[in-house]
């Protein structure tokens, strides 16, 4: 589809190594940007305050489950960060989580498949659904929000068909190594959270040092310019959405593991907005071309801390989401102010 008028990859040119190094430093963001330091500080302050007011908060028995709940948001958040960096959006992740979860749970019940196979099945389903999103978005040339609204409805129908108007009961404990129980953590670190951190680290390296990763920023900054610079925009987009789907599949495994032995139809519901909230609180620009996965991880921790903290303080659970809204406004607002200052400088 793309017109190959430009040679693949950036022109190497005879530029001296020193200049190349200099330009690299100019393009690459620092390891931890301002937004992330602020986020880290906010999380520390919140944890200390919560620890003071509810002594039960800063204990392994409370932090562990909190991190397990962060894991699916952070995992899907990695994919969503990729998507938003390319100036796209994916509102179908909740539906993808639901389809992956129900198919995997049904297979675990009826076929008693081993854990590695269950994880593979969930990831494969997510990958397939995400690839469908990607193909429609890249080659249909319709705005991603419309395509994913549409596919979200179709995926939901698919999931509900598999549910067959009831819940999936008697799920075996095959995936308990991802859950909240004692089998779910080693030395106090929940496995699911460790997986999320590994995914974030890999994505961080990919976005910072891999050519394909850098090209995502180029696509989000200006898709036409990226195409003329020789980036195959459409295949890249298909992969970005497919990976988001695959991570939603992985998140579905954690959702199965953290739930009870039965799975109901509301699994994943509302996750798409929580994930988007985590990504934008983490400093990724919804306009594309700028963003970091480390920020997304911190954003996910912040969102979950606020939601859990409100419950532990004995306040109405629903009040937590008011704070999530306020944090979105503050995080994006400070980013807008800094952006304005940067432009003026």
């Amino acid at each position: 589809m793309s017109v190959d008028t430009a040679p693949g990859g950036p022109a190497p040119g005879p530029a001296p190594a020193k200049l190349a190094q200099l330009s690299m430093r100019r393009i690459l963001p620092p390891v931890v940007t301002g937004q992330e330091i602020v986020l880290l500080a906010v999380i520390v302050v919140l944890w200390v305050l919560l620890g003071v007011f509810t002594p039960a908060f800063l204990t392994p028995g409370s932090i562990g489950p909190l991190l397990v709940q962060v894991a699916p948001i952070a995992l899907v958040g990695v994919g969503m960060t990729f998507v938003i960096i390319t100036a796209g959006i994916d509102v179908s992740v909740a539906a993808m989580i639901m389809v992956s979860a129900v198919v995997t749970a049904r297979m675990m019940v009826s076929l008693d498949i081993p854990a590695p196979l269950a994880v593979l099945v969930a990831i494969a389903i997510g990958l397939a659904l995400g690839a469908l999103n990607g193909l429609l978005i890249a080659y249909g040339r319709v705005h991603p929000i419309i395509i994913t609204f549409g596919t979200a409805n179709v995926f939901q129908w698919l999931g509900l068909r598999v549910f067959d108007s009831s819940t999936v009961n008697g799920i075996p404990g095959t995936l308990d190594f991802l859950g909240r129980g004692s089998g779910g953590s080693t030395l106090g670190v929940p496995h699911s959270f460790a997986i999320a951190v590994v995914a974030v680290a890999a994505a961080w390296w990919f976005l910072r040092y891999a050519k394909a990763g850098r090209s995502l920023y180029a696509i989000g900054g200006n898709a036409n310019a990226a195409r003329l610079a020789g980036i195959k925009v459409q295949p890249r987009l298909v992969w970005v959405y497919a990976i988001t789907g695959a991570l939603a599949g992985l998140a579905a495994c954690i959702m199965i593991a953290t739930g009870t032995s039965s799975l109901d139809q509301s699994v994943g519901s509302g996750k798409e907005l929580q994930v988007i909230a985590a990504v934008v609180i983490g400093g990724t620009s919804i306009l594309g071309g700028r963003g970091s996965v480390v920020g997304t991880l911190l954003g996910a921790i912040l969102v979950q801390t606020v939601v859990s903290g409100v419950t532990q303080l004995g306040w109405p659970t629903q009040l937590g989401f008011l704070f999530v809204g306020i944090f979105i406004v503050i995080a994006v607002g400070t980013d807008l102010i800094r952006e304005r200052a940067r432009r003026r400088a």
């Binding site: 959006i89 429609l136 249909g140 705005h143 929000i145 419309i146 609204f149 989401f321 999530v324 809204g325």
Partner: protein, 378 residues
């Protein structure tokens, strides 16, 4: 209704046969006119269902009474789609995810004023609409004046308003004798004079939807504000250089969306005979269907393009499609099939629109000899 300016070509060239004209009309994107396409689909739907009904394949009777009774669900859907029409048309990523939350919160406020504070009905309705407009103004202030991307601003207020509605009402619906009586405002009535020969139409269509639709049509098509709205949606910078206060215009779109949401809040109280704190946010919420219908009605997500007729017809198509599905596929399966239908219709309309747009751009239709190329109207 047709896309081609009437008369331009056919008067100059009398030798063109009727088939040529039809082909011409198609080639110039006749079906691209969203209103014509939607009207065709609605007629097709009614014809197919009538045939199925005659063949005894439906679980209930498919007739004008049934179609009219489903309009009770049409009112809130069409109203919120009009709200999205304003916001999305304003461009620069305009979208409002918070309409469902504003519906919930305004409904609660209305019930508190009307039931608990004992204010007169009209005063309560007006205050609820004003309250909705204030909620919309917060969205508008964040988006238009502070420069938040609307998706983010309304995501934040979606969480905020929903949370406030649930906390203020302590997660319990508000009901009482006054509100039960208010239920009459949404029920079906027989029209005076001509009512005998027409099916019963829900009163809400006339008391809620019709006034808003008329005002919205007038504002969009006959006022300077409407022109400014399309202008900023088409090209924000150009509009600014043309002397339009783009920020105030964009603010106006969000305020309008908030006010309409407030009115829908009042309507849902009448519809359910109680004010539910999750009226607009339960399940997947009201915002996503409203955006879907606006897009289906031909509102360009990039702004600047969108017509009231398309939005009203799209809402009608979806409501009747959902109602028809329930007749053919009864029970839970039918409710699920509605999801599939909504998704496929949206994807189909979006991809079809893009496809025909691209084909027109790549291979312009050669004008018939001696004819003036038809000018596309927006």
């Amino acid at each position: 209704m047709t896309a081609v300016k009437p008369g331009v070509r056919h008067q100059t060239d009398a030798s063109v046969g009727p088939m040529d004209r039809v082909r011409d009309w198609f080639a110039n994107g006749g079906l691209k006119d969203r209103a014509v396409l939607l009207l065709t689909l609605i007629i097709l739907l009614v014809v197919v269902l009538s045939i199925l009904d005659a063949a005894g394949q439906t679980s209930g009777e498919f007739n004008s009474d049934y179609l009219a009774s489903t309009l009770i669900a049409y009112v809130p859907l069409a109203l919120l789609a009009i709200a999205e029409l304003f916001v999305i048309t304003s461009g620069r990523g305009g979208i409002d995810l918070s309409v469902g939350s504003m519906v919930s919160l305004s409904g609660i406020v209305f019930a508190m004023l009307f039931q608990q504070a004992g204010l007169p009905m009209v005063v309560s309705i007006v205050l609820a609409v004003v309250f909705g407009a204030l909620l919309g103004a917060v969205n508008g202030f964040l988006s238009a004046y502070l420069g938040f991307p609307p998706l983010i601003a309304t995501l934040a207020t979606f969480y905020g308003y929903r949370s406030i509605a649930l906390v203020v009402s302590e997660q319990r619906p508000i009901s009482g004798p006054e509100i039960s009586e208010f239920y009459n405002a949404a029920k079906a009535i027989e029209l005076p004079l001509i009512g005998q020969s027409l099916p019963l139409v829900p009163l809400g269509v006339f008391t809620f939807l019709l006034p808003v639709a008329v005002v919205a049509w007038f504002v969009l098509n006959r006022t300077a504000y409407g022109r400014s709205l399309y202008a900023i949606g088409t090209n924000d910078t150009a509009a600014q250089w043309a002397g339009i206060d783009t920020r105030r215009t964009r603010m106006g779109a969000f305020v309008a969306a908030g006010a309409i949401s407030g009115l829908v809040g009042v309507y849902t109280v009448a519809q359910f005979a109680s004010a539910r704190p999750d009226a607009g946010t339960s399940g997947s919420g009201m915002a996503l269907p409203a955006i879907t219908i606006a897009v289906l009605g031909g509102v360009a997500i990039t702004g600047g393009i969108g017509k009231l007729s398309g939005v009203l017809l799209a809402a009608l198509l979806i409501v009747w499609l959902n109602a028809s599905i329930l007749l053919v596929v009864p029970g839970n399966d039918g409710a699920q099939a509605q999801l599939l239908a909504l998704g496929l219709v949206l994807l189909g309309a979006a991809l079809f629109g893009q496809l025909s747009l691209r084909r027109r751009r790549l291979t312009p239709v050669p004008p018939v000899t001696g004819a003036v190329p038809a000018v596309r109207s927006q």
